[in-house]
């Protein structure tokens, strides 16, 4: 090896994010000191982001199979059969660390990465969603981050040409130092036309496609596997720059190439770029890979092997091609103006050999690079149980009217129109339900069949009780899909936590995964793809545990999908599910009473399933005229959202005599839906519910221009709308904040 490469010192090893015992493991594995390039390769393969070393043993406990599952976790994205020879391909992935450092590019490349995961499988992307978590609105940096992230998400998706149909935005001071950007993409493919990373055949060309390789993003995955400290700002150069135009060309070229029959295996170059993609293709296929790096298209002079192997330049793909189709493939890529270069070939020696100008830079056992990555059973402590908050012990600081206006105009529950109007949610002409409802609905290629999507989680529940919070995240995603009439199919999970080396954080991760597993099993809702983002922590302060659940459901006929808007005056408003007035960890307790405390509402999964199946059957029978799940903010917030969407008010019965109004109107008991039905069907529906073992209660009647909560002061819809729609634009139009962060 040339002497210009740095000597391998303990400091250099540490700078690569490798612990001393992990370095020992490397020495034992290869029987010698690694070269600089090899050290870089190990750091790329063995960091938390790529190896899942802290979470793997727990992820294995999740249910991942089902009658419709074609491909579960382990590939670029999950694949689920939707009938008629068609399959839905989807995954959610985080881009948290880069988005905090450089919000526009961080978010944009997050979207780009997940779109690439989906079309790598042979699917054309048809929808995108995102789940964004920002710090407190009062934090000096928040507005800048919201503005940049939203523009970045939109900038990439809009140009690429995929409708961004749903998602969520949340604020909490625990994200002040670590925001979350979780991006989900969904694609459609032929069920028998899925492409995988597994290479087959010796001596086949390994081909590099797409954009050129630069020095951007080197060590991005390593950065995403460490906490932030004061110097994180200096990591800006590790954030990649996205080019949605190149990605659009790559999409079209890849789909054209796949249709030509030239592709044996394909893997996108995402985190840790060329290293991860090449190793994965070889290891999965029990093959070796030889790379000759002088053939890699670069956009900078004099790049070293180390730099090329670790670059995270975007919009690149690696493929193994049938040699006789090489010319066809080259012609397709030339037409789309993209680079096409044979950079290596498959071998039978199970080695990962990297050459630059004939000089051997790395020679490693390819299977062990992945298989022998460290795997930890990290110590964890159970999160202490929280006391229940008894509704009788909580005094309401204001009346129902004021509480509702406060909640509807809060950072947490106000309208997200300012956000989703920056996303093209209409392109492709199949968006049946746009952002703003319980779940987004699209048609499958202009036909009758539809798909519903949602992304959800309630971090304040997960913080208080990771197990119940994990369950609730799944249950709520399932409920969102049910509320539009879809049959829930499967889940992608994006687990965002703090430093797993701290037992209490590891306890949150373990608790949430257990809860997710329990709910997924009970609801026949397998996990088919996912991503783990750990070390979301700054100076010892971790984010709220945030296991975002992305979910997909199927509709036989989009014309039957339900929406949350009240449709007509004089219809009966029914509440499905049981209410105990659970205020612990509710939005009301947090935002109206100013208390973040108590146990979160438990989820009864049997009742969840019963209630949901009943609601879905009413939608499918065409009886339900409007449907909305009851979640953040409770019953009255849900009614208000239905009223605003339909521009029709409602008169509601009050709480039972003796029961506090704030528990009834703002409690966050789980497994509940609001459904409207024509007046003359109300009795029949309540009887049918009873027969199905489901509680259905008539709670009011639609009509008028206001909400009338029992015998309390009415709230005009206009007033409510102003409060609900006003927060976001007002906040974003606020005074400019000095670009230099205060801390």
């Amino acid at each position: 090896m040339p002497t210009s490469e740095p000597a391998i010192t303990p400091e250099l090893v540490a700078a690569h994010g490798l612990k001393p015992d992990e370095y020992e493991r490397i020495l034992k594995l290869i029987g010698r000191e690694p070269s600089f390039t090899e050290l870089g390769i190990f750091s790329a393969m063995w960091n938390e982001h790529c190896s899942y070393k802290s979470s793997k043993i727990w992820l294995k406990t999740l249910p991942t199979s089902g009658p419709r599952v074609i491909q579960g976790p382990g590939e670029n994205a999950g694949v689920v059969d939707i009938g008629d020879g068609e399959a839905v391909v989807f995954k959610m992935e985080s881009h948290n660390h880069p988005s905090f450092i450089e919000p526009y590019q961080g978010a944009a490349t997050g979207v780009g990465g997940i779109l690439r995961d989906v079309f790598t499988m042979g699917a054309r992307p048809v929808a995108a969603l995102n789940a964004l978590r920002f710090g407190s609105p009062e934090h000096p940096r928040t507005r800048h981050l919201v503005s940049g992230v939203v523009a970045g998400v939109g900038g990439y998706g809009n140009s690429f040409g995929v409708p961004t149909v749903g998602g969520l935005v949340g604020f909490h001071s625990r994200y002040d130092g670590n925001i979350l950007v979780n991006a989900m993409a969904v694609g459609l493919a032929k069920a028998d036309g899925i492409f995988y990373a597994k290479a087959t055949g010796v001596g086949l060309p390994v081909v590099y496609l797409g954009s050129k390789t630069g020095r951007d993003g080197i060590h991005g995955a390593t950065m995403a596997s460490a906490e932030f400290d004061e110097s994180s700002e200096e990591k800006r150069p590790t954030v990649q720059v996205g080019d949605p135009f190149a990605e659009k060309l790559l999409l079209e070229a890849c789909l054209e190439l796949m249709a030509s029959g030239a592709v044996v295996a394909i893997q996108d170059m995402g985190a840790a770029g060329l290293t991860c993609s090449a190793v994965e293709m070889g290891a999965k296929g029990d093959l070796g890979i030889r790379l000759d790096l002088e053939n890699v298209p670069t956009r900078e002079e004099g790049m070293t092997a180390y730099e090329m192997m670790l670059s995270e330049s975007q919009e690149r793909m690696l493929m193994v091609l049938h040699p006789e189709k090489e010319d066809v493939a080259r012609a397709i890529f030339t037409k789309w103006g993209l680079d096409f270069a044979v950079v290596g070939h498959t071998t039978d020696d199970l080695r990962f050999k990297v050459y630059l100008n004939g000089e051997l830079k790395a020679d490693l056992p390819i299977k062990e690079l992945g298989d022998e990555a460290p795997e930890y059973d990290r110590p964890w402590t159970e999160t202490p149980r929280q006391q229940q908050v008894a509704v009788a012990n909580v005094d309401a600081p204001c009346d129902t009217r004021e509480a509702l206006l406060t909640l509807m105009g809060s950072a947490e529950l106000s309208s997200r129109r300012w956000v989703w109007e920056q996303y093209d949610h209409i392109i492709l002409g199949d968006t049946v339900q746009k952002p703003g409802g319980d779940a987004a609905v699209i048609r499958v290629e202009g036909g009758r069949k539809g798909l519903a999507f949602t992304a959800d989680v309630t971090p304040r529940y997960c913080e208080a009780d990771p197990f119940e919070g994990g369950k609730q995240a799944v249950a709520e995603a399932w409920r969102n899909l049910t509320a539009v009439g879809a049959t829930p199919l499967a889940v992608t999970d994006n687990l965002n936590f703090g430093n797993p080396e701290r037992p209490e954080i590891m306890g949150q991760l373990v608790g949430c995964i257990k809860g997710i597993g329990e709910a997924c099993r009970a609801l026949d809702f397998p996990v088919v793809s996912g991503n783990v983002s750990l070390y979301n922590e700054t100076q010892g302060r971790a984010i709220l545990p945030t296991p975002t659940i992305g979910a997909v459901g199927l509709l036989d006929d989009v014309a039957k999908s339900a929406t949350l808007a009240f449709k007509r005056e004089g219809e009966a408003v029914l509440l499905i599910g049981d209410s105990k007035g659970w205020l612990g960890r509710s939005c009301w307790l947090w935002l109206v009473a100013g208390r973040e405390e108590g146990a979160p509402p438990p989820v009864d999964l049997a009742a969840e399933k019963r209630n949901g199946d009943f609601v879905r059957s009413m939608i499918s029978a065409g009886v339900a005229t409007a449907v909305h799940d009851v979640s953040d903010g409770g019953l009255l917030v849900a009614v208000a959202e239905m009223a605003l969407a339909g521009r029709i008010g409602a008169r509601l019965d009050g709480a039972h005599p003796g029961a506090p109004a704030h528990g009834y109107f703002f409690g966050e008991d789980q497994g509940r839906y609001l459904v409207t039905v024509p007046e003359d069907r109300a009795g029949m529906v309540i009887d049918a519910a009873s027969a199905a073992g489901v509680t259905a209660t008539r709670i009011g009647t639609t009509g008028g221009d206001r909400l009338i909560p029992g015998d309390e002061a009415p709230i005009l819809l206009n007033e409510l709308r102003e409060s609900h729609e006003g927060w976001f634009p007002r906040y974003m139009a606020g005074p400019a904040i000095d670009a230099a962060p205060a801390d």
């Binding site: 809009n158 140009s159 040409g161 109007e421 920056q422 949610h425 002409g429 048609r443």
Partner: protein, 229 residues
């Protein structure tokens, strides 16, 4: 009707407009790659679809306006052939000199996507014959640079010659005010060429052709074109 839909690198609504043309005319339009130099024989209508041609990294539409196929489009227009540019297509037509004025950043400096009402200024052109004059229709917009600008003289000429095709309005048909969200001069959403055979518009009629997906007001533009050609 023989329609040709141009595809530039970065076009992304070509499939949407193909679907709308097919629904309106019953005929499958031809996709024409930007590097071609001729339109298919017998082309009646050329459509420049929405998207981000060449990434729109220079001025929107500036590079596409110089693509090899554009000479053929100019010749087609000069012969009186129909040309429709939607969104990025409108930006390309302006850059190509087929329509006057320019499209600049939206007044709020953000990309905006929402349903949008338009007033149909005249219903005697090949594009609007299926509408009523003065009719209010609902389509959608999705753009970052749709803010129409032209100098006073050009605007006066457009207005005087009846070359404004659509204006932004509210549901009741009141033009301008809050209904003009991108800041376009004279609330202009679309304009014609002198001979009324070239139309450029920012909104997307091709995405409002189906009751299941927001509405059908856009469908009449394509149905009208099918009758005209």
């Amino acid at each position: 009707m023989n329609a040709a839909v141009l595809v530039f690198p970065g076009s992304n609504r070509e499939r949407d407009v193909v679907r709308a043309l097919k629904a309106g005319s019953g005929q499958e339009p031809k996709l024409v790659w930007h590097a071609e130099t001729e339109l298919p024989a017998g082309t009646d209508l050329v459509v420049l679809p929405g998207g981000f041609s060449y990434g729109d990294y220079l001025r929107c539409g500036a590079i596409a306006a110089r693509a090899p196929i554009m000479d053929a489009v100019r010749a087609h227009a000069a012969r009186g052939g129909l040309v429709l540019g939607i969104c990025n297509g409108f930006q390309i037509l302006v850059e190509a000199g087929l329509l006057p004025g320019i499209l600049t950043r939206n007044a709020n400096l953000r990309f905006i996507c929402h349903l949008q009402h338009l007033k149909v200024e005249r219903a005697d052109t090949a594009f609007t014959r299926a509408y009523q004059p003065g009719q209010t229709i609902e389509v959608c917009v999705a753009h970052g640079e749709g803010n129409y600008f032209a100098d006073a003289e050009t605007l006066a000429r457009l207005e005087g010659d009846g070359r404004v095709a659509f204006r932004y309005c509210d549901a009741e048909g009141n033009v301008g005010g809050d209904a003009n969200r991108n800041g376009s001069l004279n609330d202009i959403a679309g304009i014609y060429s002198e001979k009324l055979n070239v139309l450029g518009m920012m909104p997307h009629p091709e995405n409002l052709i189906d009751a299941a997906v927001g509405g059908t007001d856009g469908a009449k533009l394509f149905a009208g074109l099918a009758q005209a050609a």
